[in-house]
């Protein structure tokens, strides 16, 4: 009984210390921001029902999207290679093949109408600074502008892969991959996936010259990006451990809430796409999580059995001592 009391005292002091050093201290060191469910409540809801066929004409024609963006699934290659594009615009404009599934429709509509506003970059691009966002806003093609925008969004949704086919690496590539590299290769489903650079997957090279040429391109791209953003966006290889799921999701949802004035845009992903991005970061930075859970279970079972035998041994030995 006395031992249990002593154990209780030790446990209480340990837990109090733990509470103060971990949850309590961290609540005072970091802003806590709750997710708003990727609802983007500040952006107006879509009021018109879009027509994908009309949207296609606009995207390919009057909307002039394909002047800068590639749409691989529709057979439209990017007009420029990534390095030239970054040197022209600051960042390579994304391929729109999966934009319709990765990005929220309301966000896409707002982006087409006023990119700097949807991206929450008006602190950088405004009348006072004299800077304009590289993507020109859509001024309408002569008809009802809300309808036209809804049509374009509908078209993007119609060409994207279905939600359930969106893979973690696709979500990452579309939402994050033009600014953030991941220099860790990773194993998934028995296959080794290459490292990611801002200009795409890093191929394996037979010749050193080819590798150096590729790396030079990456450096050129990164230079343009650094000039555009003021700093090179961080490599995300270990972000799942350094930031954790909650921070990553809420930061992506509203970067300004954490870092006022950051050059990181609100990228406008859907809640499902955010989950996929996190899953991708887990696949890269915490690739052993499944085996950890499995081994953990077995080790715990083993330790319980060990403890039971240890207790029985003690009882056996001490029977004569009392």
């Amino acid at each position: 009984m006395k031992e249990l009391f002593i154990l209780a005292v030790v446990t209480v002091f340990t837990l109090v210390t733990y509470y103060l050093v971990e949850p309590f201290a961290h609540s005072h060191m970091h802003k806590h921001i709750e997710s708003k469910g990727f609802a983007y409540a500040d952006l107006p809801a879509l009021t018109k029902k879009g027509d994908a066929a009309r949207g296609k004409d606009l995207v390919m024609g009057a909307g002039a999207c394909t002047g800068c963006h590639g749409i691989k699934v529709a057979g439209m290659p990017a007009p420029m290679d990534p390095v030239t594009a970054a040197q022209s615009y600051g960042v390579n404009p994304p391929d729109l093949s999966n934009a319709g599934v990765v990005f929220d429709p309301k966000f896409l509509a707002a982006l087409i109408k006023n990119p700097a506003h949807a991206l929450m970059l008006e602190h950088k691009y405004n009348a006072k600074s004299g800077k304009t966002f590289p993507m020109t806003q859509f001024y309408g093609a002569g008809g009802d502008m809300d309808q036209e925008v809804a049509d374009m969004v509908a078209y993007l949704q119609s060409i994207a892969v279905p939600k359930e086919k969106l893979t973690p690496d696709m979500a990452f590539e579309t939402a994050c991959g033009r600014c953030h590299a991941i220099h860790y290769e990773y194993n998934l489903d028995g296959k080794l996936h290459p490292a990611w650079t801002q200009i795409g997957e890093k191929p394996s090279f037979k010749h050193k010259q080819d590798e150096l040429a590729f790396e030079t391109k990456v450096l050129d791209y990164q230079d343009a990006l650094t000039k555009y953003l003021g700093t090179l966006p961080p490599d995300l290889s270990m972000y799942i451990r350094s930031r954790g799921e909650h921070y990553i999701k809420t930061f992506v949802e509203d970067p300004q809430a954490y870092l006022k004035g950051t050059a990181m845009p609100r990228v406008g992903v859907t809640a499902e796409a955010a989950d996929k991005v996190v899953e991708h970061l887990e696949n890269v930075g915490d690739s052993k999580r499944h085996i950890r859970d499995e081994v953990g279970k077995n080790v715990m079972i083993y330790m319980f059995i060990f403890a039971i035998f240890a207790i029985l041994w003690k009882k056996e030995v001490w029977r004569d001592l009392h």
Partner: protein, 404 residues
């Protein structure tokens, strides 16, 4: 030369040459331990097991770790964590054990303080234990440098800066320790050497000293009772085990130790698999960057109390207070002027001193982590003063303690 006969068995062969029966008797079966003890007396074994886990996991990590500022971070976070089979397990065991070992050390220390196990011939046990604490602290700090993350780098920067001794501006000493103006390759290499060779050697030697120091004064017991080990062991050997006040180290004491170890390991592996974040700071998963200071720089939890004694004062006063905190525990056997070696609960004012010290150190620990602003600064300041005040008061309150 000794006389050897033809061996009748392998046991006999070894016994003639190594005296294994004598070793066994002296070290185990007739190494007498008081019976009146509780589970806190098993903390030594818990520490030995945890140190064993650190050593074994460390050996596996050492096979893949690269002590190079360009490779270190990825060798830990990519090679070990993702490529090497079960490398993640060794790292999590190592990281969690490094943190938990300090929890057990503190429990072990406060057990010693509570039961007065540092006086009446047990001074060297206490002093060798404190030397182990210092060696473990150096081991923990040097190990923390190795992943070469943001906290490695900046903790290395801050702690080595302390050696400039504030107003003395001994910047040359800081450069000498770092081998550079800032933590860089030379710094990483030497801390690597310290972590994997020199300090572990010192720790092994000190563990030997610590165990040796126990031999003559014997382990203390729950009531601080002076036991005649000679007479009690005779009683035991004569078969009156129930009335003897002593037990054998092997198997009697060991069986109780292993029971505690068994329960402890459930807790330990729970942390390793399901709750490891507390021991592996997220900030250290960002690679070291000398141009980007983290918003909050703080040491691991087990250094926070002494960090907080440094922090609330001006530079020079803080350093003196910090130095005071580092050495004062060594002097405990001499600052405690009372001859009573009994539990604190029976020692008058010392009882309050004990709990005040424990609570004050927990407050210092908490305040050492939160940003030093507003009310936290004030609490930290007074907690640091309380710490110093308690130590100054100790000789006085113990001098007038009634003999029990």
């Amino acid at each position: 030369m000794a006389h050897f006969t033809k061996a009748t068995s392998l046991h006999d062969w070894l016994n003639q040459r190594l005296g294994i029966d004598t070793v066994r008797r002296v070290m185990a079966t007739e190494y007498w331990i008081p019976k009146n003890i509780n589970f806190l007396w098993a903390m030594g074994m818990v520490l030995a097991i945890t140190f064993g886990l650190l050593l074994i996991s460390g050996i596996f990590l050492l096979m893949y770790y690269q002590p190079n500022i360009h490779l270190a971070f990825d060798s830990v976070n990519y090679t070990i964590m993702q490529e090497v089979g079960y490398g993640w397990l060794w790292r999590h065991v190592h990281g969690v054990a490094a943190s938990v070992v300090f929890l057990v050390i503190y429990i072990h220390m406060f057990t010693g303080i509570y039961y007065g196990s540092y006086k009446k011939g047990r001074e060297m046990i206490w002093i060798s234990g404190m030397l182990l604490f210092v060696a473990f602290s150096a081991e923990a700090f040097s190990g923390y440098m190795l992943p070469w993350g943001q906290m490695s780098y900046w903790a290395g920067m801050v702690i080595t800066n302390l050696f400039s001794m504030g107003g003395l501006h001994m910047d040359g000493l800081v450069e000498w320790i770092r081998g550079d103006y800032v933590p860089a390759q030379a710094f990483l290499n030497r801390f690597f050497m310290l972590h994997v060779l020199l300090i572990p050697l010192v720790i092994l030697g000190l563990i030997g000293l610590h165990f040796g120091a126990l031999r003559i004064p014997h382990v203390n017991n729950q009531d601080g009772e002076e036991i005649d080990f000679e007479a009690e062991s005779k009683k035991y050997l004569a078969g009156d085990k129930a009335n003897s006040k002593v037990i054998r180290f092997m198997n009697d004491f060991m069986s109780k130790d292993m029971m505690v170890v068994g329960i402890y390991l459930i807790f330990f592996f729970y942390l390793v698999f399901y709750h490891y974040d507390f021991a592996m700071d997220p900030v250290n998963f960002d690679p070291a960057n000398g141009l980007k200071t983290p918003t909050h720089i703080y040491p691991e939890w087990y250094f926070l109390w002494s960090y907080e004694i440094l922090r609330p004062f001006s530079t020079n006063v803080g350093l003196i207070a910090f130095a005071f905190a580092q050495v004062i525990f060594f002097l405990l056997p001499f600052l405690d002027r009372s001859p009573n070696a009994v539990p604190a609960s029976r020692r008058g004012l010392f009882k309050y001193w004990f709990w005040a010290m424990l609570i004050d150190m927990i407050i210092l620990t908490a305040m050492g982590k939160v940003p030093p602003e507003g009310v936290f600064s004030t609490i930290g300041f007074y907690a640091a003063l309380t710490f110093i005040g308690l130590w100054i008061a100790l000789p006085f309150i113990t001098k007038f303690e009634k003999k029990v």
